[in-house]
Symmetry: C2
Subunit: 655 residues, 2 copies
């Protein structure tokens, strides 16, 4: 049977009305009973530990009563939760989940495997490795050379990326120390492609060895000195062992060359968690250098080049450059192809190199749009024929295809993968990287694995320890039911992108007089941001206060009860948004760019709607949620303009 | 109805035979339908997006077929998963989960709230705060002053503990810089209880301010300089901003006093993840100082005192001391009361202070044993009347009660809390600590919360971002159904401890001739470790190889098919176990302590069985799993002694 995604789409989710409830219930009951009979078939001679007479004891019954009652209370409370499933929810990047992931999670949770090690998760560790390969293939990594795994979320994935990047960056310094200690003369590859003896390199050179050359050097050292000896010698020179305090002191001593601290370049739109990450890693938030944006809210590649050149001039090493594929505020997709060009140029013109990480936590799944069923890439025209418009343009396709050129990519199944929390993922292009952070716990010493393709002990290489095999099964089953190409996720994401563009277009056309809608550019993915202004607002502060009131009217926490539509908002601040906000401010006309810059943390509040609903364009058979959205917005603006006297409208009890 | 735990216990789990399948299925279906009708009641006027005719399309049906087929494959594969539910599984610290947690997780997963912020998890963020309060009360923290939250697991909880500890430890240094910058003269509390002006303190003194005094100083600075100014000034002097490289340089310059790097003291039994943690934080694994063990596999308090005194003599600051409550290898419970005494003594005699963290990831829930229904502590005699023996002794009770005196405690609901992965937790005694690591994301700016008791934005204070509200609901519902006292978890854990001691005792009594069973001491909790030796083994290497073969015979991955009982093993290495292993080696008689020390990574392999099954003592109505265990062990030892020729026994297909 052909899997026409147009029709299949309607089988992928429980549905805004629970239309597929019968399907989900059938699968849930099937999985539960299947599990129960597994238990019953395991050594049936063991008999029953809990007998029917036990179930008639007062204490048993009391316990069941307590549990049932408390569950009913929980269910009652959850009715005040956020209706992510509805076309009326146009807030954060969260929606309902695929049935496949729900049932995959539930079925496997009953077994509760722990993917820290295959010994206690023989099946789901393999599924996790398969998921990593699925994602690797989708973004263009070679699954045989790359490596990846699931994390509890994007922050941990990004944390690991930078932790790994630092390990690779500082590796040549440790290798130089180790080689000298064991009396070896080794050569290493330089950014310009030439080779040089380790002993001739200064600290600066060592910190600018390309990642792959660093890993080659590491292998060479192990071949030359023997694995055990190489490990011992490396440990006595590595940052991981020595720690920053002693390391800095030692470098200054050994090289007479106390270079400034290494920096991490991030798009100015980068997620706030990058600040947590550099603080926790001991790098320090001062070393987080924000690269200016262009007017599309993407990292400006020219600004990146200027930045790199300046840093090199000051001999300040760059640990990593973090480019974003799908910013969490505007869903902007950095021109990763041009970021990679900057690194290539830095290598040839400046002799400098750095790790490139793509934070594709939000947008990574959009790569499915570029894939055919056979795994080949779709051409731009093919995709545009299917979307029936000008989207995506060739630049977007180039940016997405360039994920294959990043050294590491983080990508969250629990965002655009439509699976339940918690499932993030990290991929590294060169799988050897993971060995640099390996730890060795005594009670999970690797055993002979009867399945050599299975990672026997994932916990060695990752930050986390115990982790749910159920999450791996959820993602795995979702990828099986909804392929990572034009037949599955590609189609789903095309639809939500189309919905986002439709919302953007209709907001632009809408007559909300006396209110004026001022939009951010057409989104690269599916987050629509805008400001609504009334002529009476003539200052930034007044405009922001108004936007906050509009948000309050369209927020689930609204005092008068839930609104018809739910949106959210964000605050664009200086200096992060200096490069992008000009046109917006010019249209709004409440302040100049300089005044906005001077406003500090005041910034500009924008309303923000993520479209994860695949039924927005064309609208489904029910009421059109774009029309409804505009009506609700107009009402909210009016209410926000002249807030009613508190006593005039008695608070409606919340659902 | 009285909730007699003896009978209630049989309602808490699905049961080894799925005896409570009817109950779980009823609740699962109830929760699912309840959710579906919530959707259907939300704006019924929206009509149906997925119509019955849509479900008759070929593409829809094909998609359902694919999903069903793939689910059936997954279910078939899962039948090779580990039977954690069975009394025959005596391996890692993992068992089946409470029905309450399973249904709590499933019911809430359908809503998929994200506890990063209350805006997208209005109910479950509150539940998470309630869970943190439950746990705080259980261990003796004041829920009004303390703070805590769930994490993806113990490693992240421990990571956060050390991250927070470092922030508190270095705070006075930043405060001194900030106060000088804004021209304030402030006083701060010293370890001996006196006060001194900040300006008179040397770097060493600043790094030895007690945690609470540091936080008081921080508040004083904010009151004196104003919050915004204090924040700005602190940021320009804090490690989090500056990063280690520049920080070390600056301290050496400002104080002319380049102190050695700060160390982290851990029990030698501490989980291997502590090494990952200090590496990632930039502290460096060389700064992880292992405190020797006593013969009960607990941190030796006298050795701790010697260690602290030596470090102080070398003016090497101690960032934190990590004591373990329930080691993952032996379930040893450190004498935390005596660890705290060491710190008190260090404060008064040496003028030194440090953070005390209890890694109670595994054993923390045992504190429920010490609680009555009204929350008061049970006396030793009361508990022993209920356990009918000498356990627990007063030292154990004092150690558990001392959790209240630790600065932070990590405690995993997904271990002895019997809830599904992933649910760890971190608690800090002084809730102000969290503000030191706060970050500020633009799109989740705190709104007016209509429920002031709810943390509006948890993501500010924690390492992770997106996190499952379902995990919070699972733990919450489990605590409701099974209270954290003698009626609930206390009873459950008493039973598993009794089972552990019974297994230990019967292993000691068992006649496995010609094999000799040599046991580790009676466990503090419920992990039993031992070595089985045959007279023909006269070297450490031979003994270890034999133990590995016995493990192989009792491992699910056994080539001939699954064994009747499943155990695991671990490797006790030098120098970590130098203090504890003497008696064991003496009884084994294959090598001296010095020979063992010289064996390096060879160490001693011990078999290891965690008893999480509450039906082992007294045995349930089925076959006795202690007797069965001993029979299986004897068989495994015989097989391991003379491994059959590979071709002699054709491999049996695995279940």
């Amino acid at each position: 049977m052909p899997l026409d995604p147009k029709d299949a789409l309607r089988a992928w989710f429980l549905g805004p009305r629970g239309e597929n409830a019968e399907l989900l219930e059938r699968l849930v009951v099937e999985a539960l009973r299947d599990h129960v009979f597994w238990r019953r078939n395991y050594h049936p001679e063991d008999g029953f530990t809990i007998r029917e007479t036990d179930k008639r004891q007062e204490g048993y019954e009391a316990s069941v009563a307590v549990l049932t009652q408390e569950l009913l209370s929980l269910l009652a409370e959850l009715k005040r939760d956020v209706p992510f499933f509805s076309g009326r929810y146009k807030g954060h990047m969260i929606a309902e989940q695929t049935i496949a992931s729900q049932i995959g999670y539930f079925a496997t949770m009953l077994y509760n495997p722990n993917n820290i090690a295959a010994e206690i998760s023989p099946i789901t560790t393999r599924l996790e490795m398969e998921v990593a390969s699925d994602l690797a293939r989708m973004i263009g990594y070679d699954p045989a050379r790359s490596w990846g795994h699931l994390t509890s979320g994007g922050t941990v994935a990004n944390f690991e990326a930078l932790w790994l990047a630092r390990s690779v960056r500082y590796l040549p310094v440790a290798a130089a120390g180790a080689a000298a200690e064991v009396g070896l003369e080794l050569e290493v590859g330089l950014p310009d492609g030439s080779k040089a003896p380790l002993t001739e390199l200064r600290l600066w050179d060592l910190l600018n060895i390309p990642g792959e050359a660093s890993l080659d050097l590491w292998e060479l050292l192990q071949r030359s000195a023997g694995v055990a000896e190489a490990r011992r010698a490396l440990a006595s020179h590595s940052l991981a062992s020595i720690g920053y305090q002693e390391y800095s002191r030692r470098l200054a001593l050994d090289y007479g060359d106390p270079l400034p601290a290494g920096v991490v370049l991030v798009a100015a739109t980068a997620h706030y968690s990058w600040e947590k990450i550099v603080r926790a890693l001991g790098i320090g938030s001062n070393q987080l250098v924000q690269v200016p944006l262009d007017s599309c809210f993407r990292m400006d590649p020219d600004a990146l080049w200027d930045c790199v050149r300046e840093l090199v001039r000051h001999r300040q090493p760059v640990l990593a450059c973090v480019s974003v594929c799908g910013t969490t505020e505007e869903s902007a997709v950095d021109r990763l192809d041009r970021v990679i060009e900057v690194r290539d140029r830095a290598a040839s013109e400046l002799g400098a190199s750095f790790h490139i990480h793509s934070d594709a936590c939000y947008g990574g799944y959009a790569a499915a749009v570029t894939r055919k069923a056979d795994g080949d890439r779709r051409k731009g025209d093919e995709i545009r024929r299917s979307t029936g418009g000008a989207w995506p343009d060739d630049d977007w396709i180039r940016a997405i295809a360039s994920l294959a050129g990043a050294d590491s990519v983080s990508i969250d199944p629990h965002k655009m993968g439509y699976v339940p929390y918690s499932a993030g993922a990290i991929l590294v292009r060169d799988g050897r990287t993971r060995l640099l952070v390996a730890a060795e716990p005594p009670y999970l010493a690797p055993a002979d694995s009867s399945q050599p393709e299975v990672e026997p002990f994932l916990g060695r290489y990752i930050l986390e320890g115990s982790k749910p095999g159920a999450a791996a099964a959820a993602v795995w089953l979702s990828h099986k039911a909804i392929p990572l190409d034009e037949r599955g996720y590609g189609y789903l994401i095309e639809k939500t992108m189309a919905g986002g563009r439709r919302l953007h277009a209709e907001l632009g056309r809408a007559d909300l007089a006396p209110f004026q809608v001022v939009l951010l550019p057409v989104p690269d993915l599916n987050i629509v941001c805008y400001v609504v202004r009334h002529p009476s607002q003539t200052t930034l502060a007044a405009l922001n206060a108004f936007s906050e009131r509009v948000f309050g009217e369209l927020s689930l926490a609204r005092k008068e009860g839930p609104p018809d539509y739910i949106v959210t908002r964000t605050r664009l601040q200086s200096p992060m948004y200096d490069g992008a906000i000009g046109p917006l401010l010019a249209t709004l006309g409440v302040c100049s760019l300089d005044e906005w810059k001077a406003s500090g943390s005041e910034g500009l509040v924008v309303l923000r709607s993520t479209v994860m609903d695949p039924f927005l364009d064309p609208p489904g058979p029910g009421p059109d949620h774009v029309t409804g959205y505009l009506t609700a917005l107009r009402k909210a603006c009016s209410a926000a303009l002249s807030p009613p006297h508190p006593s005039a409208s008695p608070p409606v009890p919340r659902r």
